[in-house]
C-alpha cells in the first residue's frame, strides 16, 4: 500500500487550514475574577516568546505532518506532536497569565484550544482508521493516552486552569458524581441486559411475541429524554407514596431511582433488537444442520446462535452504554446525581467552567467506553472472519 498513493491527504489539508485559522482566534481567556467579562489572549501572547515559540512550532509542524496521504504513521505522529504543542502552550499560559494578575484571576482555555484539540483528535482518528491497528494495539494506545492524561492532571501543571480550580474546590462532590454517573450508566446497562437478553431470546423463538414487543420498545425510544425523565417523577413519586416500604428502597419522584428506571427503559430496545438480530445472524443452513444432527433447542442457542450473534449482541450493549453515559447527564435535572449536576449548576450560574467540569468527563467516559466496546466486539468476531 505504501507508495501506491502519493500526494496530499484531503482531510489533512482541511485540518491544516482549519488549524491555522484556529490559531488566529483567542487561545485562552483571562478574567480578573469569576464575575467580570474575560478578555481573549492569542496563542503567541500567553507567555514570553521564548516559551510560546516551541509550542507554536509543534502545532504548525503537527499540522504539516498530517499532509502526506501515503504516510499514516507520520500523520499519527503529527497529531501527537500537535497535541503536545497544545498542552505545552496551555501549561505555559496557565501559570504565565496568572502571574501578577491578582488573587481572584481566572484563566481558561478559549475557542482556539477547543478547535485545535478537536482538529488534532480528528486527525489522529483519521490516521488510525488508515493504519487499522488490531484490537491489541488499539487497547495499548488507549491505555497509553489515559496514562499520559493521568500524569498530566496529577502533576498539577494544568491546575491553575479555572476548570481544575472548580474541581479543586469540589473534590468530594466530584468523586461522588463520578460514582453516581458510573452507577447510573453501568447499572442501567446491566439491568437492561438482564431483562433484554431473555426477552430477545423469546422474541427470536416466537414471531408473534416479537411483533408485540419490539414496537412498544421502539415507542419508548422515541420519547424525548427530558419528557421521559419528567414522566418518571409522577410515576415513581406515586409508587413511593403508595407502596409501603418503597421509599425505604429510595423510590421517589426525584433522585436516583427515576433516573435509573428511565435509562433502563431507553436501553431495552437496543438490547432486545440486537439480541434478536444477533440470534438471526446464523446462516439458516447451519441452523438446519444443527437441528438435523440432534441438537436440542438449548444446545442450538448456546453452541450456534449465541456464539455467532455475540458481536451483534455486544454492539447493542455498546450503543446502550454510550447512549446512557450521555443520557445520565440529563438525569442530573431530576436529581439523579452524576456529572449532570455540575452541568445544570453551571447553566444556572452561567459558570462555563462548572459546565465543563461536568461535560468533559462525560465526553471522555463515552469515548473510552466506545473504544473499549469496539475492541470487545472485534475480539468476539469469528476467527476466520477476522483473519480475512
Amino acid at each position: 500500500m505504501a507508495g501506491a498513493r502519493h500526494g496530499v491527504s484531503h482531510p489533512g489539508v482541511l485540518f491544516a487550514v482549519l488549524g491555522l485559522a484556529a490559531l488566529l482566534v483567542p487561545f485562552m481567556t483571562l478574567a480578573a475574577n469569576r464575575i467580570v467579562a474575560a478578555e481573549g489572549v492569542m496563542a503567541w501572547s500567553v507567555a514570553p516568546a521564548a516559551l510560546t515559540i516551541p509550542g507554536l512550532v509543534a502545532l504548525v509542524l503537527g499540522l504539516g505532518l498530517g499532509l502526506p496521504a501515503a504516510r499514516p504513521r507520520l500523520r499519527l505522529l503529527g497529531a501527537v506532536l500537535g497535541l503536545g504543542g497544545l498542552l505545552w502552550l496551555l501549561v505555559q499560559g496557565a501559570s504565565g497569565l496568572l502571574d501578577g494578575a491578582g488573587d481572584y484571576a481566572r484563566v481558561s482555555p478559549a475557542l482556539g484550544v477547543w478547535c485545535l484539540l478537536t482538529i488534532f483528535m480528528l486527525s489522529m482518528t483519521d490516521a488510525l482508521v488508515q493504519l487499522a491497528p488490531g484490537p491489541l494495539a488499539r487497547g495499548t494506545l488507549l491505555a497509553a493516552v489515559l496514562a499520559a492524561l493521568a500524569v498530566i492532571l496529577w502533576s498539577g501543571a494544568l491546575a491553575p486552569l479555572s476548570v481544575l480550580q472548580e474541581y479543586a474546590s469540589r473534590k468530594a462532590a466530584f468523586a461522588d458524581a463520578a460514582l453516581r454517573h458510573l452507577a447510573l450508566a453501568f447499572g442501567s446497562l446491566a439491568t437492561a441486559a438482564l431483562i433484554g437478553f431473555p426477552v430477545g431470546i423469546l422474541c427470536h423463538r416466537n414471531r408473534r411475541l416479537r411483533g408485540a414487543i419490539l414496537p412498544v420498545l421502539s415507542f419508548l425510544q422515541t420519547i424525548p429524554s427530558l419528557a421521559m425523565f419528567g414522566l418518571m417523577i409522577p410515576i415513581l413519586g406515586w409508587i413511593g407514596d403508595s407502596v409501603p416500604g418503597a421509599q425505604a428502597f429510595g423510590i421517589a419522584g426525584i433522585g436516583f431511582a427515576p433516573a435509573f428506571l428511565a435509562l433502563v427503559l431507553y436501553s431495552l430496545l437496543p438490547v432486545v433488537a440486537n439480541t434478536v438480530a444477533g440470534l438471526a445472524a446464523a446462516p439458516p443452513a447451519s441452523i438446519e444442520a444443527a437441528r438435523g444432527m440432534g441438537m436440542t433447542s438449548g444446545q442450538r442457542l448456546l453452541r450456534v446462535e449465541l456464539p455467532m450473534g455475540l458481536p451483534i449482541l455486544l454492539t447493542g450493549l455498546r450503543i446502550v452504554l454510550v447512549q446512557n453515559i450521555g443520557l445520565a447527564v440529563i438525569a442530573g435535572l431530576i436529581g439523579g446525581g452524576g456529572f449532570g449536576t455540575f452541568v445544570f449548576q453551571g447553566l444556572n450560574q452561567t459558570a462555563t467552567d462548572l459546565i465543563l467540569l461536568g461535560a468533559l468527563p462525560s465526553v471522555a467516559l463515552a469515548l473510552i467506553s466506545a473504544i473499549v466496546m469496539d475492541i470487545l466486539v472485534e475480539l468476539t468476531r469469528p476467527q476466520a472472519a477476522r483473519a480475512a
Binding site: 446462516p283 443452513a285 447451519s286 438446519e288 444442520a289 444443527a290 437441528r291 438435523g292 444432527m293 440432534g294 441438537m295 436440542t296 444446545q299 453452541r303 450456534v304 456464539p307 455467532m308 469469528p382 476467527q383 476466520a384 472472519a385 483473519a387 480475512a388
Partner: protein, 311 residues
Amino acid sequence: MIEIDRITKIYNGVPAVDAVTMTVESGTITVIVGTSGSGKTTLLRMINRLEEPTSGEVRINGESTLEIKPHLLRRRIGYAIQGHGLFPHHNVARNIGAVPTLLNWPKDKIRARVDELLTLFSMEPAEFRDRFPAELSGGQQQRVGVARALASRPDLLLMDEPFGALDPIIRARAQDDLRRIQRALGSTIVLVSHDMEEAIRLGDRVAVMDGGQLVQHGTPADIIANPATPFVADMVGDMERPLRLLSLVPLAEVVEDGGAPGAALPADGSLRDALSACLWTGRTAVPVEREGALIGRVTLETIRARAGLRA
C-alpha cells in the same frame, strides 16, 4: 433396513407426500429423484422427524422412529444438506466432531475419528483440521459436511441434494468419492436429487417421486429399461437412453479376447467411456486393461449391440 410404511404428509389439505411405502436395504444407496416440489425433501425429513408425518411410520431395523425422542433419533442418523450448513465459527475439527461431542465421546476418540474421516476424504488432517469453513473451497466444504454427517458412524445417512451447489466437474468427483466411501464403510444412504443422471450414477436403487407419490422404485437399469410412467420416461430422457444404458455396463462385463490400437481403458470404466473413445479417435475397438495389464478389447460392434439390445 429402513422400512417406510404408508407415510403421508399433508400441508393445508394438500398431500406433499402421499402414502409412500418403500424399503431401503442396509449397506445400499437409494436415490430419491423427482422434479422440484414432488415431495422428496419432505419424505427425507420425515425419516429423521424434522417433519412429523401426518400418518404412517418409519421403522429402522424394526424399531418405529416414533418411539424415540426426535433429537436422540437424529443423533443416530447422519444428515447432510445442500450448501453444507457448516458452522462458520467452528474449525473443521469441531465441525466434524459435532455429533460425537453431542454423544459425549472422549476427546481423543473424537480427534482420532476426525483425522480418520479427513484422510478418508483425501484431506490431509494436519493441514485442514484447524481451518475454518471460510478457508476451504466449495468442494472441500461439501466433503467436510458429509464427513460431519458420517462422524458418529450412523445407522443411516440422509442427504438432501448434497452436491447441488457444486460445479459439474467437482460434482462428478464428489459423487465418485461418496460411492467409494459408502462401499468402504458399508453405510446405508438415502439421497435426494433432482438429477436423474446423478440417481443412475450413484444409486443401487432409484425411487422416482411425482406429485408426492412414489411412481417407481427399482434398480437403475430397471428404471431406464422399463420406465413405469411417461413421467419416469421423461425424466430418463428418451433421447439419451442408449447412452444411459451404456454408462451402466462396465467394460469388464463385455471384454473379449483380442488386441486393438491406441490407449487402453480401465476395466471398471463403462461402455459409454469406450464409445466416446472410439468416436473421438476414430477406432473400431479399444484395448482394456486392469492394473496396468491388457486383458482384451471392446469393439464398436459390441457397444452397438448392448445399446440396441435393451433399448
